[in-house]
Symmetry: C2
Subunit: 399 residues, 2 copies
Amino acid sequence: MALEDLTVLDLTRVLAGPFCTMMLADMGAQVIKIEVPDGGDDTRTYPPFRENVNGERESLYFANINRNKKGITLNLKAPEGKEVFRRLVKKADVVIENYRPGVMDKLGLGYDALKEINPGIIYAAISGFGCYGPYSARPGYDILAQAMGGMMAITGAKGGDPTRAGSALGDMLGGLHGAIGILAAVHARSLTGKGQRVDISLMDCVIAATENTALKYLESGKLPPRMGNRYAAVSPYDAFQCKDGKVIIAAGNQRLYEKLCNEILHRPDMITDPRFVDMSGRLENQDAIQEVIEETLREYTTTEATELLLGKGIPAGPILDVSQILEDPHVKEREMFVELTHPTLGDMTVNGCAVKLMDTKPSVRTPAPALGGDNEAVLGSLLGMTKEELERLREAKVI
Amino acid sequence: MALEDLTVLDLTRVLAGPFCTMMLADMGAQVIKIEVPDGGDDTRTYPPFRENVNGERESLYFANINRNKKGITLNLKAPEGKEVFRRLVKKADVVIENYRPGVMDKLGLGYDALKEINPGIIYAAISGFGCYGPYSARPGYDILAQAMGGMMAITGAKGGDPTRAGSALGDMLGGLHGAIGILAAVHARSLTGKGQRVDISLMDCVIAATENTALKYLESGKLPPRMGNRYAAVSPYDAFQCKDGKVIIAAGNQRLYEKLCNEILHRPDMITDPRFVDMSGRLENQDAIQEVIEETLREYTTTEATELLLGKGIPAGPILDVSQILEDPHVKEREMFVELTHPTLGDMTVNGCAVKLMDTKPSVRTPAPALGGDNEAVLGSLLGMTKEELERLREAKVI
């Protein structure tokens, strides 16, 4: 597997960090998830739940995002817990955490301390605002990143309120940037022999994902309006009403617009109509074009409309909900959902990995760990701890 | 710089691919952008524009996302163009393209052909639906990925229409996954000596970014509703009306909810009120809680409310628009926008890089290339071509 020689000590909780290490684990890295002995990752108590084989309520959220990882417990506040962690750092390539900046330093386990133990260690931190800058000490959450990173201000219906993307997009973007940073630092280490710190701010990541928004504002002096599914520079490129729902049409250039007018709308006059003759005209008169398109499409279902449009070479597609996505033949062949048998939850569906390495395919191999479920295996094999030592640490509540 | 030893042949156009190679270039990779001699990347004609020093309309869109790259022209349909490309592949680590699947094979330049020339080559393709699966031949665009990947179905106001994220999010997610795949494949090559193909589908990437949506649906049998800025599992965690706009409050656990009731709302009764006593109650009675919060907040501006809430340790923040983000002191210190002097556009602002490698900082060093601007430098230094050869290729419209 692509990352099979990498050992990652994973102190992250909830979503952004665990999503990052999930991708690394899917690609073969040995990810050792380190949880507090008392309860572990908060998401062990997050919905959706299922009654497990022991008749207890167990989280599928945790089970999804922590598959392929090993799980150990460690109390980093206890001196012996710190010592065990330091011994693990000597054996590891990457440490990743998503505490608020400063927490690891206060524990005596910040990057400056860890690089003394292992100069090759790569130390990645994912936080709401990063480890430097005036907001770095603020608490960071997905909704704040979406709001302060500018995504909310440009998302929403025309004339409507600022709206977040419907998933925890800030966390997802943080996890993706974290994986890039870690892999780039691993590569840099192959050149220099030295590790380094990787600092990821959810707010930064959302700003990056707003792409040209700032440029457009700086040149025009106008704040970009929210505009539903329309785009600022191309039209017709939107969702259009059919008999039973909406279909997307992306006719973003002259050739595709002419095809649409000739072969779908049967309105060649719309090509020469001065209102629609070029893109800027079409952008100014979107409502009028929409009316004509929807007049035609009202005779078709979204499935029929999609087929009709694609048959004529016009980019089109349905707006799929998750029930349709789960049944979609393309999604199945792409293995974007994978079946897994979990020891206490039974058969469950987990997300697949979107990074398709064709010769070293990412895969879902093992279920998420029970709390401390790999204490013996990991601490025994990596640190050579005996059963007696482990028992003593367990009694002292260090693991 | 982290990736300074990597040479990337970049055949990508428009956004997803160029965003991917922008990140690699920001981290030091030598990215050689290869454009068709006749006009180059489509985005050279995309707004926003500025009148350049020659009095021509020039694209800032192109200039933003292609900084740090070298630019050469090459006609891959001409036999001599193919031959120059093959010679470059021998010297390169990565080829990346975002044609529709099959285009490169038809040119005789697909992965199977290129790995014969250089078994170490990493071949990354970013397309709407990936290189396998029943939709792989369909045209792919950002709006289709957002619609078919399930993001649109879960984004939007309560009771409102499916809504896209306001940026080209599918393209951004494709670029991020592409960078992860390339760096993972580079690492795998360090273990095996062999390159491989990396296949990225925008639709896959959007599905991945919907995180637990499928799990929730599978367990509940209920399609997730659109719900504006609310989240399914935590409350109060939303945007709330102040005197002059909205403020985000993320009081996602019992402790923060109690703090909010005691220290901001001065309503300790709301902690013991049976409607709000636990998270499931608060989720069911969000409107009632919102009313109380907004009654209090109406006396404050969003700035005042943010300070008040953060002062009491409650996660909060404003909804920033791009004009505010550009002026924000935190964003400035994080260098999420960078000033650059472009030879024909003059001083301009470009996006910074969100992957903060602390010892090998990503940076913006050189402006985007003119069309074929580095033909002599690249083809001369990498392939040892003479001025005469270059002149001949230029006359033959190969470059």
